[in-house]
């Protein structure tokens, strides 16, 4: 989140900086919690794909600042492949969420106890090929889900960012095999013009005959093969095309109508307000070198 004139246009953006959050997405988790109260009385929570860490910041404040009882037994673990700046009361792990070692590390930190709550605000970069982008996003959710099935207690809650695209109803259907209630929730802080929403899965109830096991040589698809969540399985033949199970999850808009509308333009930010300094320094994009070359005029049409 940089220092920009977006302060005037995007109220959540400015509010995030004022309140010291690393990204405006913090309000999405706050508004989801306002609706579902899934952070009341939780002890062990995991934030997957956590960088830059705004959800971990929310978890830290909700678990430790709002309710100081039993602070010594509370644990927050944040996992990401990218390095993260430290956050109070949060243990950050730079690791791959699909790797069994990551699971072991978290279980060590939890001293063998299972988690009450797992969330993921991760999203891959989009290419513009809608089907590929949706597939990769769903694989990311399933990767988060496979780790979740290994560490979430029965009755626990799983929350993840989704994009409501063409095949979202397949994901709803699959998740409903593992949770009592699956809701598609849209906080007011998430733009109405964006396809972003959050899947809130309440009441984890894994099939009794299935024991999830992470293995370095198994894909996410292999992982769920033993658990019938309606995903396609292949044995020795690639099957004919068939319609796969789909269902539409209940939709809840949260954050209340009195909260700010992320699609609206607000005028009450004074015109001459100076842009607030960013909470966190910007990250290095992979195309940094290309940008430098462009700036030096080396990417022209002259060949």
């Amino acid at each position: 989140m940089g220092k920009s004139s977006k302060d005037k246009r995007d109220l959540y953006y400015r509010k995030a900086k004022e309140e010291g959050y690393r990204a405006r997405s913090a309000f999405k988790l706050l508004q989801l919690d306002e609706q579902f109260h899934f952070l009341d009385n939780v002890t062990r929570v995991v934030d997957l794909c956590a960088a830059p860490g705004s959800w971990s910041q929310v978890l830290s404040r909700r678990l430790f600042d709002d309710d100081t009882e039993n602070n010594s037994s509370k644990r927050i673990v944040a996992v990401d492949l990218q390095p993260m700046f430290p956050i109070d009361n949060v243990t950050t792990i730079q690791a791959d969420i699909t790797h069994p070692k990551t699971l072991n590390k978290i279980m060590d930190l939890f001293e063998g106890e299972k988690a009450d709550f797992v969330c993921s605000d991760g999203a891959p970069d989009v290419t513009g090929l809608h089907d590929l982008d949706e597939y990769v996003q769903q694989q990311l959710i399933l990767s988060a889900l496979q780790l979740t099935t290994c560490l979430l207690r029965e009755g626990g809650v799983f929350v993840a960012k989704i994009f409501r695209g063409r095949d979202i109803d397949m994901l709803y259907s699959q998740l409903s095999f593992l949770f009592e209630r699956v809701v598609c929730a849209k906080p007011r802080s998430s733009r109405g013009t964006s396809l972003e929403s959050f899947i809130v899965c309440l009441g984890y109830r894994p099939p009794s005959d299935w024991k999830p096991r992470l293995d370095v040589n198994m894909s996410v698809e292999d992982f769920f093969q033993g658990c019938d969540i309606g995903r396609l399985t292949i044995d020795d033949e690639i099957p004919n095309y068939r319609e796969e199970p789909r269902s539409i999850a209940e939709f809840i808009s949260c954050g209340g109508l009195d909260s700010f509308d992320s699609d609206a333009t607000y005028h009450d930010v004074p015109e001459n307000t100076t842009a607030l300094d960013p909470v966190q320094p910007p990250t290095n994009p992979p195309y940094k070198r290309a940008l430098e070359l462009k700036r030096q005029g080396k990417l022209t049409r002259a060949v």
């Binding site: 290419t127 109405g192 033949e237 095309y241 796969e244 539409i248 509308d261 609206a264 462009k294 060949v303």
Partner: protein, 995 residues
């Protein structure tokens, strides 16, 4: 039961492949087969139910198709013979990144996104699953190199972990290339197996030596992500395509260095996905997000030696031409036989293109140091002039060997001349001299072109602030273009008469070209006019009535515009400069026809026809050498399918009445900030873009035809324009902005989310209401006499963004209906707030004694319908006091609400009549009433079009259909004789018929 049937589909194409004289293109769920020699679309075959075709591999008669989790193997003849091949589709459990046949054709390999290869027999029985043990990367890309029956290499492009090259048989990693930053989007192996090339999020191409395992070189150049690579020409070249919409050719040197050789701008914003090369013909085919399938001559329209020549002054003197030490070329002109040039010493040089010889024609010392050169090709004539008003006219024989006429003239009427313009018209030569003294008239010499006799001397009084930069003749009129985008029209029969001066017809400055297009039955003459700053317009001039009207005004994407004209195919062509590049651009089809690097400022150049259909020559001086570049007619059709927008279509609007020539037109408004005016064939759904308007500077929100003449478009930054459509010319329909809505601040940052209009009977005036992202609601009166929008009401709902607005007339009342992001429907009674009397649902006459009030009345009714924003609504008047509102929301729900006005007209009561919470799996983006409002169509992001019977006032789902347009966002409909036509837009565009 009614059936929706897809007539046509235009959308992203991810893969293309040459096969003999055909191009096979994955086009959504279809495979298109084109004959690239004739340009004909030979067949369209549906191969998958829902998934897009991402790749195809051909071995003899067997075609392996894959896309998403779908795969299919079929006989190639089936693609020609069967419109529906979906019965062969198989569904894998993982995304298939790539597929290939085995060397002997007995099996196929499928590489999945989990870096596994499924080895299958031809009925997709999995014989073996291969993977590198302990390797668990997710792939964005990959290819399979089948070297022989036993040796197969997998080139895997991972999301996080670089490139992995592994051996299928041994399941061992051979190379792990980690020099890229970010995800790998493509890996290609060279044909002979020495190299692999990869591209990534870092926007570079890296070439790897597969023997040594070393990085050989890195190619920088693309300004966005690169999506596809291919080696060709015996591994000596590599072609790349990118998100930046260019295709680039890289030469691979002996030592493996990547050298960028050419850049082709081929597609519309954004992304070229697919590429293939035909080595023998040296042509490339590309496919993009815009749905375009484009053929490109990799030799840049066959650049053979004789087509591209450079002569330095040294070279010229080697031909026996005597040149003084400082003698340089000052001007040149191209005739049938070759070039004529004037030097700084007054020497006339001739280049005979057949003999490839330079000769000196003569020396005329009057033209030492300053001279201007021009000519008339059809008269084989070249004209030199100097500042002392001296002229030399040379008329050559066709072969250039003889000078048929040699005329030397001194114009005594002017003392000094800075400008000499020349044109041929109706076998007459017209010469116009302009003096630097603004008080001097234009001096025009008219003579027979055949013998340069029968001189007539004409004078035209120059208008104020006028410096001629171009001119044209039509019938008895001369039209001069000047700086300040001014035109002056002179009557040749009556030179004394003051010119008709049309000032500032374009936003730019110097007019660079004026071309006659056509004359219609009303004797209106249409001209295209361009200015150097990148704007062009079409202006209709009636010389008899001395009237004129600008029918279209537009600008090119970037650079300077030196001229524009229609070509023989009826495409509008522009040309000019972009920094040090000369370009020719097809404005109708939106692609670069030609470009040449020719150096920067103070350039001397000529772009002229070269005696043949679509043959041109570009001549320029660079570093004191003269360069010729011939531009031939393309050897193959350049466009196999043109596509539409390269980004999401945000709105569509059809003009309900066909044009006078029977054509149906519609506008498409896109995220790419352009509005396209398109012609639709209602029988087969084929669409042809006529104009691409670049007036908006931000992503479009809405466009609607408010009647047959006017269209309104709105976008962010408070942009709202009123467009007028003209269809009185044969060449094309034309459209231009006639009025812009005033914005509320100097730096407008509000989005105009929607608008609605109500016509005032018997006039072209209307009431307009606009709703904004800051909750503002405004009501305006458009006056056609004054051509202004006058603000009547300005108020706010709350603070949330408003999404939709409608104006509903109920008998004698006018109701404003708004839907904000809070999911409510809100009504106001505006009857007393507008200066018109309403009768029988119509605004009929001015209300006497009207008292303007800037604020809205109190809200009449506000009901909660959806739990999130209402994305789209439609209304229908049920009775004189009752209307329904049909809504679709971000909460996936679809609803019908009813509003009733009480007898005293004081209150409105609303309620939800019918509500389906799971109306779609995702956001419902558009609802549309069709078939005399008996049926409701909904479109949603889950790519399903649903069809409800609403005749009984509730929602009864009748049917649903899958649409191939991702991010489905808008529908418009048109009634036809046989039923209705529905246009559906998103990322892509499709036309459906409802029978």
């Amino acid at each position: 039961m009614s059936q929706l049937r897809q007539l046509s589909h235009t959308g992203p194409s991810v893969c293309v492949k040459f096969h003999g004289k055909y191009v096979l293109a994955g086009y959504g769920v279809f495979v298109h087969v084109y004959n690239y020699e004739s340009g004909e679309l030979v067949s369209i075959s549906r191969v998958f139910h829902r998934n897009k075709v991402h790749g195809l591999a051909i071995r003899e008669k067997s075609v392996l198709l894959y896309g998403g989790r779908s795969v299919s193997l079929l006989d190639i003849d089936y693609l020609w013979g069967n419109a529906d091949n979906t019965r062969f589709e198989k569904l894998c459990h993982e995304w298939v990144v790539s597929g290939e046949h085995s060397m002997d054709g007995s099996s196929v390999f499928l590489l999945t996104s989990y870096n596994k290869v499924l080895c299958c027999d031809l009925s997709f029985r999995v014989l073996q699953t291969k993977a590198v043990y302990g390797e668990r990367s997710i792939l964005y890309s990959g290819t399979i190199t089948v070297l022989n029956q036993d040796k197969v290499l997998v080139n895997a492009g991972t999301v996080m972990d670089g490139v992995l090259v592994w051996d299928l048989k041994t399941e061992k990693t051979i190379h792990h290339f980690t020099d890229h930053e970010g995800s790998i989007f493509y890996v290609a192996a060279s044909i002979k197996g020495r190299y692999a090339a990869s591209c990534s999020d870092d926007r570079s191409i890296k070439l790897w030596d597969l023997h040594s395992g070393h990085l050989v070189s890195t190619g920088w150049g693309h300004t966005a992500r690169i999506w596809n690579l291919k080696f060709y020409d015996n591994d000596s070249k590599l072609i790349s395509v990118s998100e930046d919409c260019t295709c680039r050719v890289w030469e691979i040197s002996e030592r493996g260095t990547l050298i960028q050789k050419s850049i082709h701008e081929l597609h519309q914003t954004k992304s070229i996905w697919g590429v293939d090369v035909n080595d023998e013909k040296m042509i490339a085919v590309t496919s993009g997000n815009d749905g375009r399938i484009k053929i490109t001559d990799l030799n840049a329209r066959t650049k053979s030696d004789s087509d591209s020549r450079i002569f330095s002054l040294d070279d010229i003197s080697k031909h026996g031409v005597k040149l003084r030490p400082n003698e340089i070329i000052k001007g040149f002109y191209w005739l049938r036989f070759g070039l004529l040039a004037m030097t700084s010493e007054g020497q006339v040089l001739k280049f005979d293109q057949k003999a490839e010889m330079w000769t000196s024609v003569m020396t005329d010392s009057r033209f030492t140091s300053y001279s201007a050169t021009s000519g008339v090709q059809e008269f084989d004539m070249v004209i030199f002039s100097n500042s002392r008003c001296e002229l030399l006219i040379l008329k050559f024989s066709e072969d250039g060997n003889e000078i048929l006429e040699n005329k030397q003239l001194q114009i005594n009427e002017l003392t000094k001349s800075t400008n000499c313009l020349v044109r041929g018209y109706n076998s007459k030569l017209f010469l116009v001299m302009e003096s630097p003294n603004p008080k001097d008239p234009f001096f025009c010499l008219r003579m027979d072109a055949s013998n340069l006799q029968h001189e007539e001397r004409l004078y035209f009084k120059k208008p104020k602030n006028f410096t001629a930069s171009s001119f044209a003749f039509y019938e008895n009129f001369a039209i001069f273009g000047s700086r300040f985008s001014t035109l002056a029209i002179f009557d040749l029969e009556n030179c004394e008469r003051e010119a008709t001066v049309l000032r500032k017809i374009l936003p730019g400055d110097t007019i660079t070209s004026i071309d006659f297009v056509e004359k219609n039955s009303e004797s209106d003459c249409l001209f295209s006019v361009s200015d150097r700053d990148g704007f062009y317009c079409f202006i209709s001039i009636n010389f008899l009535k001395r009237s004129h009207k600008v029918l279209l005004q537009n600008r090119i994407p970037k650079g300077f515009l030196e001229g524009a004209h229609y070509n023989a195919q009826g495409d509008f062509i522009t040309y000019g400069f972009k920094s040090n590049l000369f370009y020719v651009f097809n404005e109708t089809k939106q692609y670069e026809v030609f470009s040449e690097l020719c150096g920067g400022a103070h350039r001397q150049w000529r772009y002229l026809p070269n005696f043949g259909l679509d043959e041109f020559i570009f001549i320029y001086i660079k570093a004191s050498s003269i360069n010729f570049r011939k531009i031939h007619k393309a050897a193959y059709p350049e466009i196999l399918r043109n596509g539409l927008h390269g980004r999401e279509i945000r709105d569509l609007c059809v003009r309900t009445e066909p044009l006078h020539l029977g054509k149906t037109v519609f506008c498409s408004a896109s995220e790419d900030t352009t509005i396209k005016l398109n012609v639709l064939n209602v029988k087969d759904g084929e669409t042809k873009t006529v104009w691409t308007f670049r007036k908006h500077t931000s992503g479009l929100q809405r466009c609607k035809f408010i009647n047959n003449k006017f269209m309104i478009s709105s976008a962010a930054r408070e942009e709202l324009y009123l467009w007028e459509l003209t269809d009185t010319f044969m060449s094309n329909p034309y459209m231009t902005i006639i009025c812009a809505l005033p914005s509320s601040s100097e730096i407008p940052d509000l989005r105009i989310m929607d608008f609605a209009c109500k016509a005032i009977e018997g006039t072209e005036d209307f009431i307009l209401t606009t709703v904004y992202s800051d909750s503002a609601i405004k009501v305006w009166l458009y006056s056609s006499d004054e051509n202004t929008f006058k603000l009547l009401i300005s108020d706010k709902y709350q603070t949330c963004c408003l999404l939709n607005v409608a104006l509903v007339t109920l008998d004698t009342e006018l109701i404003l209906v708004v839907s904000p992001t809070d999911g409510h429907l809100v009504c106001w009674n505006l009857t007393k707030y507008i200066p018109y009397v309403i009768q029988n649902n119509k605004l009929v006459k001015v209300l006497e004694g009207f008292q303007p009030q800037i604020h809205l009345p109190d809200i009449s009714e506000r009901i909660a319908v959806h739990s999130a924003g209402i994305k789209s609504f439609e209304f229908k008047i049920i009775a004189e006091n009752r209307f329904f509102v049909y809504t679709g929301g971000d909460d996936n729900a679809v609803a019908i609400s009813e509003f009733v006005l009480d007898k005293s007209h004081k209150t409105i009561q609303g309620c939800v009549r019918s509500f389906i919470s799971a109306g779609a799996a995702s956001t419902i983006t558009s609802v549309k009433l069709i078939r005399r409002d008996m049926t409701l169509l909904t479109a949603s992001v889950d790519q399903v079009v649903r069809y409800y019977d609403v005749s009984a006032g509730d929602l009864v789902l009748k049917n649903k259909f899958y649409t191939t347009n991702a991010d489905t966002g808008c529908i418009d409909t048109l009634s036809s004789a046989t039923g209705s036509i529905a246009l559906i837009g998103g990322v892509g565009f499709s036309v459906w018929t409802l029978e």
